[in-house]
Symmetry: C2
Subunit: 360 residues, 2 copies
Amino acid sequence: MIDLSDGLPPEDETLAQSTRTIRDVARRAGVSIGTASKALNASGRLSAETRARVLRVAGEIGYRPNDLAHSLHRARSMTVGILSNDSFGRFTFPIVEALERSLSDSGIAVFMCNATDDPERERRHIDQLLGKRIDGLVVTARRNDRRAPIEPAVGGVPVVYVFTHVERPDALCLLPDDQGGAQLAVRHLAALGRKRIAHVTGPERFEAVRLRASGYRAALAEFGLSARAGDYCPGRWSEAWGREAVRDLFSKRRGAPDAIFCGSDQIARGAVDALREMGLAVPVDVAVVGFDNWDVMAEAARPPLTSVDMNLGALGRDAGACLLDMMGGRSIAGVRRLPCSLVVRDSCGADRTQEIERKA
Amino acid sequence: MIDLSDGLPPEDETLAQSTRTIRDVARRAGVSIGTASKALNASGRLSAETRARVLRVAGEIGYRPNDLAHSLHRARSMTVGILSNDSFGRFTFPIVEALERSLSDSGIAVFMCNATDDPERERRHIDQLLGKRIDGLVVTARRNDRRAPIEPAVGGVPVVYVFTHVERPDALCLLPDDQGGAQLAVRHLAALGRKRIAHVTGPERFEAVRLRASGYRAALAEFGLSARAGDYCPGRWSEAWGREAVRDLFSKRRGAPDAIFCGSDQIARGAVDALREMGLAVPVDVAVVGFDNWDVMAEAARPPLTSVDMNLGALGRDAGACLLDMMGGRSIAGVRRLPCSLVVRDSCGADRTQEIERKA
């Protein structure tokens, strides 16, 4: 928190000492109170630069129009920004698509901005969005790793972080439950009678890898199983790694796994290819489960892959619903992890007829 | 063209008979001339619905503010809409990403709207975009097939169609040169000495399939080659089809192909898998070239695939540049096909060292 005690008296004695007023904002931004009001209420004609400056200053000094119950009365632009650093890739797209759909059903148009990990570009995008008087902002990123929060806070505009994680207690972050997803997969394999379940996954610097590994161990423990030395194989996010790890797992003298839980469908695809080429049958000899439920990979694999689905569409819809709530003045904060689900295909050895019957 | 001769006199004798004035727009839209002017000049306060109605009427009766040299003077919203029907899929998003980047570098923010082939949703998106006073619109769709033009024309707002094709002589459509791309691939194989080149591709209802097939035949002819009966295999866009077609091609008595040009990387991936499983070496026995240069597929294939790249990023950048020109008052129309390029990896048998040397 910046120390702002230097001669900024509270303008209204009924408000807490720390509450900043529009007068503070105007002074700091070097504009008149009228101009500050226009910028903060998203009304009147004003240059995009001035508007952005006022909103930035408001964020810096912690001025919150919501505190003053202005939020419900101020003019709405009926626009929201989505800022991505993922080049709108395979993971972000289903999220953004569902988000756009849920917001457009509420009459809100969506600005898309791609900063591709360039901080200066990100800053420019945010200024541009503030100049457009957005009512809210969704920030998304590659994989679900931590990123820096948008600083300074964007002038009272609510922000939702989705598929990314920031270290800020007042931020709302929506993420898939990686640990729970891994547990689903491993429980499923154990329930099918598999006794030695290996885990071939991506690089450990990814939080998702660490969370999935802990879900793997937790589910093994539930069934009285454990990972033997060499059964946990972190590596790369590629088919080649899936092939390499499997060849390694099965070249050892001391008994081979009867199931492999893979950290991605690409890894799983490499695994089933390597198993077939080694003369092992999937799922009879070795059951395999992937992660991502990426249709192109999972359906084209031989056999098609059972896989954990992160329900990215639901994540996008939830982000939209939360943002609408926040735009309506509600405060929501914290890290929310949304459940994954398991999509059963042929690689795990479950009887899919029974599966359907159980559900019916 | 709707017949509008019923009692709409030209307001200005210096203009052609067919030119409609703001008075016509106002009368048809049931608003005052002042209101029509606000809507057409993107100024003043007006409900989104009224603005959209005025702009729609203007489009219907063929009112063109550009004709009256208003375009350079009217206030700009500095926003552009991108309307997709592709669920922003694998082909659209490199286009949209490059487009967003090129426009944001010009200070223009991009609204993204996904209509997912729902005409009513598309209409609602367009009304919403007009209500936001967009300066231009880019329309994109799944694969490069024909779609209906945006009707009625969006009130003088320039429209660029990209990766899709509309039957309208005044429309600008940017597409990859599928025929030229296929020629590149087949010329490359023929230049490497391959004599019998098969073509395994997607369903013939796709214009891209027909264009690529004609490029295939044209390139064969350049080298004095031709396709034998059964060498041209249209089918499905899948790995399974690639495997099936290859098994079929090589099960025939009368001599097998020494090269296969595939209509997609997925097909090519199925092809190289089937060849390997039949004991044939790629590229020594059979050279294979794919199409799309989809990194996930092309790089993970064994061996990695030589593939035709549609340069989707360049297509997006071009669409942005054309739209900016059109927003500046320039008229651009017609179908433009942008060149593809060939990315050489291991599946075609070209000496990549020489390739690099040739370029150096």
